[in-house]
């Protein structure tokens, strides 16, 4: 039996009603980034903006998944409907992926108020999945109050999640580096909330102290000073503080500091979308230049300028 194709625009009203099948299918359309879905995704973007989008990032093994699973339970207990976008890496060789984040979220498997979607990075950079921003909009319109984005385990400068979320939580674990790690540029700078996980371990105080020392003299960003919170998913401790900090940060964003943040997120979104459209148009057309480039008969600057010129109609050297 060949399946019937449901047009994406027909899915939009069903997404608004929160139908799990329609929400899931719309997410697949966003991932496929077909031009057929653009009108529907555009309509969803205009309807979205109600949910609190919280990015959770940190190095591999820092305890992100376990933290997210517990956080979902606490947010549900407080009455919120919660969606999780769980991102895992794609294989650089086959392009395939094993998405295992659901295993840690089994207690929410039958809860109607929880929607979990696993995504593979598919070559996207920054610990994020391609189309993650569209997926967040879909879940927002479907009526989830909080959307948690759990990034892949990242290194030190994969900071794109901060351009996708209202509130960015950076998870650090004890025992992963000395105090110099804490003053390096990169991922630690994007945190709106710092969490030190595994605070049931004796060396966690050292990590907490290092982070607090680093942040002591940092100027507030958009009128907000990132708190440093200790947390133990094992013992279920510290989650009230985390939820309180999330709520306070959201309130702060409603003020003047939030305007700059929203503009930055919108600018990032615009650039990303333009990139997607351009790359799609270039695909398959660069073959001649690639051969000349590989043979070093042409240079990448001239070849790329010519490729762009063919689309924009600009004069040479423009």
């Amino acid at each position: 039996m060949r399946r019937a194709f449901i047009p994406s625009t027909d899915l939009v009203p069903r997404v608004e009603k929160g139908e799990p099948f329609a929400v899931a299918r719309m997410i697949s359309r966003a991932e496929a980034s077909s031009s057929e879905a653009r009108e529907a995704l555009g309509a969803l973007y205009r309807k979205a903006g109600r949910a609190h989008v919280v990015g959770v990032t940190g190095v591999p093994g820092s305890g992100k998944s376990t933290l997210v699973a517990t956080l979902v339970a606490r947010l549900r207990a407080a009455g919120a409907r919660v969606a999780v976008v769980a991102i895992d890496p794609s294989s650089p060789y086959s392009g395939g992926a094993i998405l295992g984040d659901r295993i840690r979220m089994q207690e929410h498997a039958l809860d109607e108020g929880v929607f979990i979607r696993s995504m593979a990075t598919h070559g996207a950079m920054g610990g994020m999945a391609h189309a993650c921003l569209d997926v967040v909009d879909i879940l927002d319109v479907a009526g989830y109050d909080t959307v948690l984005i759990e990034t892949v385990g990242v290194g030190q400068d994969e900071v794109e999640v901060a351009n996708a979320s209202d509130t960015t939580v950076v998870v650090s674990a004890p025992g992963l580096g000395d105090e110099v790690q804490a003053i390096k540029a990169g991922i630690l700078e994007i945190a709106d909330i710092h969490v030190v996980s595994k605070c049931d371990r004796p060396d966690s105080n050292r990590t907490l102290t290092d982070l607090k020392m680093m942040l002591k003299d940092a100027p507030p960003r958009d009128g907000w000073r990132p708190p440093v919170l200790g947390l133990s998913s094992l013992r279920g401790e510290g989650f009230e503080d985390l939820m309180d900090a999330m709520a306070r940060h959201r309130e702060a964003l409603a003020g003047p500091g939030g305007v700059a943040r929203r503009r930055a997120i919108a600018a990032f979104r615009l650039r990303k979308t333009a990139e997607t459209i351009l790359i799609e148009r270039f695909r398959g057309r660069e073959q001649g230049s690639v051969d000349a480039l590989a043979a070093r008969q042409q240079d990448p600057y001239a070849a790329a300028s010519e490729l762009v010129r063919n689309f924009t109609g600009e004069k040479a050297d423009a």
Binding site: S28, S94, I103, A109, L110
Partner: protein, 135 residues
């Protein structure tokens, strides 16, 4: 650009062996598919909810405990209730030949027993998805 085939692999019921299903997961990953694995001891309800949320092309259920004629009718009914009757359901594991026929009569697209070579699994799943059409 073709999207990777999405597969959800699940272990339903009480058997605690997931070596086989993990080998299949890796095989499918290496064939370029996105594989969601939900772990051991799931119920049909949990598996179907997860498969719907993940909007997978294929729901693969591995069973070694002999409860296939209880589990699969439930799964097929729940999928229909969730408007996901067009999802491809595949069974894997160890079972008698007459049960294979019974499962196919229920609408299970393929039953792959323990001696199925990995390459054959990839080929069969790819073919099933191509015949079914895009999400």
């Amino acid at each position: 650009m073709g999207q990777p085939i999405r597969v959800l692999l699940a272990k339903v019921g009480l058997d605690g062996h997931d070596r086989g299903v993990k080998v299949v997961a890796r095989t499918l990953r290496d064939a370029g598919m996105d594989v969601v694995y939900t772990g051991l001891h799931r119920t049909p309800e949990e598996v179907v909810r997860a498969a719907v949320q993940e909007d997978v092309d294929i729901l693969g259920v591995s069973l070694l405990s002999g409860v296939q004629l209880t589990v699969f009718p439930k799964i097929m009914r729940l999928l229909a209730e969730q408007q996901a009757e067009d999802m491809i359901v595949v069974a894997g594991g160890v079972m008698p030949d007459e049960d294979v026929e019974a499962l196919k009569a229920l609408g299970v697209a393929e039953v792959m027993l323990q001696d199925t070579p990995p390459a054959a699994i990839v080929e069969r799943l790819t073919h099933l998805v191509e015949a079914r059409g895009a999400r």
